[in-house]
């Protein structure tokens, strides 16, 4: 049983759209199977995809979105995991700086930036799935998104230097415990989410920092580094979007 490319692309896009809209997986799977069956029969009878979903794939996706239940697990299960992940990144960042003090601003700001980034990425996936977006525009979207995301993190670091907030300093023993827990969180999240996202992100962020600590590099080289990270991040998100299909 094979579908035309147009139909398959539409089904793939609908899947990504509903996934990024945080809809119940079971319901989505059920509905997509039913639609696939319909599209197949319709194609056997020489009907075009426009005949099935109307002239606007976006309008049809919204129609479906309205009827499929939200997955409550996002806030109950995923949100705490995102926050846990955010803390793990913060710990790693501090370790590289040999710093054992945490400001209130970084403790609150880091998870907030993470949540905003993930919701933003979901928004981007939804937009790309519902609109006719060329590969080029899609890639530009991911690059822009990476720049914004990166700016938020850098902005938070700067803000932390200029805005005073209560500081918590932990003992070296607690620090070791934090590092071990962070490492376990990374591994756990990678296994649970079945994506390399949680591994790729720290590599992209921390490896250049590590290198710059041991090798004296000029500001220009640092800029090149930064650009490479952004490109890497964008390429990774692009690849992840394709992989979800």
């Amino acid at each position: 049983m094979t579908l035309s490319k147009a139909s398959q692309t539409f089904l793939d896009n609908l899947r990504v759209y509903l996934f990024a809209s945080n809809k119940k997986e079971e319901e989505v799977k059920d509905l997509l199977e039913e639609l696939e069956d319909h599209l197949y029969e319709a194609e056997q009878n020489g009907k075009s995809i426009e005949h099935i979903i109307g002239n606007s794939p976006k309008a049809y996706m919204k129609e479906v979105e309205a009827e499929v239940d939200k997955d409550g697990r996002f806030w109950i299960l995923y949100m705490p995991m995102i926050i846990l992940g955010a803390f793990a990144y913060l710990v790693m960042d501090k370790v590289l700086d040999n710093d054992r003090s945490y400001s209130m601003l970084s403790l609150i700001g880091n998870p907030v930036v993470f949540i905003v980034s993930i919701l933003g990425l979901f928004g981007l996936y939804r937009y790309n799935a519902a609109n006719h977006v060329s590969k080029k525009i899609e890639m530009i979207g991911y690059i822009l998104f990476s720049i914004i995301q990166f700016s938020l993190f850098i902005g938070l670091l700067f803000a932390d230097n200029y805005i005073e907030s209560p500081i918590f300093t932990i003992t070296p023993a607690a620090n070791t415990a934090f590092i071990s827990i962070s490492f376990l969180v990374f591994v756990g999240l990678a296994i649970f989410s079945k994506t390399w996202f949680v591994v790729v992100m720290p590599i992209l962020f921390f490896i250049p920092q590590l290198i710059s600590r041991y090798i004296q590099i000029s500001e220009n080289t640092e800029l090149v580094f930064l650009f490479c990270i952004l490109l890497g991040l964008a390429a990774y998100m692009f690849w992840e979007a394709k992989r979800m299909n």
């Binding site: 319901e27 199977e33 069956d37 319909h38 005949h51 099935i52 499929v68």
Partner: protein
Amino acid sequence: MSSSQLLKGILEGCLLALIAERETYGYEMVEKLAAYEFTMVSEGSIYPLLLRMKKEGLVTTTSKALPSGGPKRKYYQLTPAGKEALNEFKTRWSAISSSVDNILRRNQS
């Protein structure tokens, strides 16, 4: 109420009537609708509607394997609540259609 919402209410009534005849699946419903020249909506729009009807307890579904293999096909059956909803739709529809007919007829003459 927008015209598409009005149309959806009518489509829902028609789907209930088709499922009441005998258990059926999506593509078959669309073919029957087309046979009655009900082609005002795109074919795919029955699925979000069927999903809602299922959640409202008007229909149930069973999946059956196709003789040709491939994915299972979902068949719809009417529940007692669905039968009730169909009867209500019939009453409402005959009231609406006869009054609208009357108004339009008087308008013509």
